[in-house]
Subunit: 205 residues, 2 copies
């Protein structure tokens, strides 16, 4: 997997699909609505996918980046929520539309393969015993997904809170804050003025 | 998601793809080789997908059932292993072959969507605090994936060891054996003579 930025990518579909009914934009923090039998294709930006726990906690289960898709037909989770982590542009399709267009189907295959790789990566992370190991692996996985070149190393194109990072690896916000402090002291990572993580060039990959 | 059995399904591809170079069969317990740039499409049987940990443990990260695909282009895990859980029939394709055939691409979209739903289901499970809750959710997820009708409820078409179930939810074999004993006493599940799990009709879903 190469790096992706959140800048606009060539939309995976040609012009005739770009009607105003289909294309929607969202701002940072917006919750993205979902419909049965319809999927969203991301053309710009990053979307955070959460599982809502009965206790109110939002557990991060994925990130949808340009070229990938998400939606109710693509999840088995009941309490599923999508939030824009940046300014995003999304296109809404029915499954029938996707399956009737070779162009769309091919985009979707690549986008689903990418999300599957991400989900397996997250499953692999939860199998590490030590929380610190889990965090290092998570940060390297995110580098693949939302990393963009920076003079010091790789900068995340969106900001994730300590709470979000914590739920992605099953730990508490307090532990996350302590561990990130440790990694920062080790000069494994730093932050820019917008509080986006920068993984230093010295971070092993 | 409906139930799938391990009986042969209509292969997702038409006759011209079924050359002897492409179709391979495996027996229970066989390790399935994988090649860079090539994916396996499952036409019959169930394949267990493991992450091999440095400490030698095999951590279950997925099951590939008929109509779904797996292979190195579809994973981000370095130490990835696939094992046949039943007699399986698989077909080997390059990504270029898949993308040049609308028929194959459509099958792959459905198969990838199914695996993505499974992976998100597993990610959701690891977010439950109590091990017993994780196990109940895992057993219900497996019901969707490998369940087939049985007079007492739903029978798993393949046998999973306590160790395999344990690694899928991050617990020990000893704890798994104890919890399965508890669920059996509650008549939530039982076993048939081949030691396949049967989820009783009373198991809430």
């Amino acid at each position: 997997m190469g790096n992706v930025s959140t800048a606009a990518v060539t939309p995976p579909v040609d012009g005739r699909w770009r009607s105003s009914l289909r294309v929607h934009t969202f701002s940072i923090g917006d919750t993205i609505w979902m419909e049965p039998e319809r999927i969203w294709l991301v053309s710009r930006g990053v979307v955070l996918l959460n599982l809502l726990h009965p206790d109110g906690e939002e557990v991060v289960v994925g990130l949808a980046t340009p070229g990938t898709a998400f939606g109710l037909p693509l999840t088995s989770l009941m309490a599923y929520q999508a939030k824009a982590l940046s300014k995003t542009e999304l296109m809404l399709f029915t499954l029938v539309e996707v399956e009737s267009s070779p162009n769309l189907t091919q985009s979707l295959v690549r986008g689903l393969a990418r999300r599957l790789r991400q989900a397996e990566g997250l499953l692999g992370i939860t199998s590490h015993r030590r929380v610190e190991e889990r965090l290092r692996h998570l940060l390297l996985l995110l580098k693949q997904e939302i990393g963009e070149p920076h003079p010091l190393g790789t900068r995340y194109s969106v900001r994730l809170t300590h709470q979000q990072l914590a739920t992605a690896i099953g730990t508490s916000r307090v532990t996350m804050t302590r561990l990130l402090g440790k990694l920062r002291q080790e000069r494994w990572l730093t932050y820019d003025r917008d509080r986006h993580v920068i993984l230093m060039n010295t971070a092993e990959s």
